[in-house]
Symmetry: C2
Subunit: 154 residues, 2 copies
């Protein structure tokens, strides 16, 4: 459903091999950095850069994605709350900008979680997410796959 | 429609005198800090702390609010893009937490805007919003009212 050859997100959507799940309109991919365990990107499958231009059925479907994803991480890792952001700033570093709607999903925890030999912590719980914190916590692909599997089986 | 006496956001929703606009389910209030000119809070009128628990008609209505608000700030001040976030972290600093769904709306600009004798700038355009930047830019209520008026008449 992607259609813009110069868009990095279209490329990722098209080439992704192991989504957490997808629907008719959205695809949920685990982020490489897992400082906030279960952190995902939720991307629209078609190329569109403006929230206001979403179709009604895409907006309706997004609500189902939110509910399903939150439930999955709550069941899997006992996340307490969830931060959702739709920013698209980086697309405007290029000229012309070529934004593609995607949401950042960050589960937040008031407790540490032991999973696959790693300890996941959220020292900023109750406060804004810390981008420095997450940049330092890229996890190997085998652990990423285990996180995905756990989320899929929750 | 608010119903939780210990919730600060219910109180704000109930007592607000000058919203940018409201609908059956949501109310749009201008933030005191206007580092990102047109920055608003979009709050659910009823007390509910979990996105997954929104009613279908509330979710549907939110889409209309997003479109209307973005159009208003684009027309008023020529904003380039918009950052939307739903976080609710602070509610979890209290025990028990008592979250109330609200969205942060930050218009972003690749140009400075002169309005009512003030110059609004977005030096971080193309990057994540800077919370330090906005904390330092509270504007007087008469200017806030002019911003609201401009947005209402756009």
């Amino acid at each position: 459903m992607s259609n813009n050859t110069s868009c990095d997100i279209c490329k990722v959507v098209k080439e992704s091999k192991n989504p957490v799940f997808d629907t008719n309109y959205w695809i949920v991919l685990l982020a490489n950095d897992q400082a906030y365990l279960g952190r995902c990107y939720v991307s629209l499958k078609r190329h569109c850069g403006d929230l206001s231009e979403l179709k009604n059925e895409e907006w309706k479907d997004l609500f189902k994605v939110i509910s399903r994803l939150e439930k999955s991480v709550k069941t899997s890792f006992n996340a307490v709350l969830f931060n959702w952001t739709c920013l698209m700033n980086m697309a405007y570093q290029n000229s012309p900008p070529n934004p593609h709607i995607h949401w950042h999903f960050r589960p937040r925890y008031n407790h540490s979680v032991n999973f696959s030999g790693l300890v996941f912590q959220d020292p900023e719980f109750g406060h804004h997410y810390a981008r420095e914190h997450e940049r330092s916590f890229e996890v190997p692909s085998d652990i990423q796959n285990k996180i995905i599997e756990r989320m899929q089986n929750s």
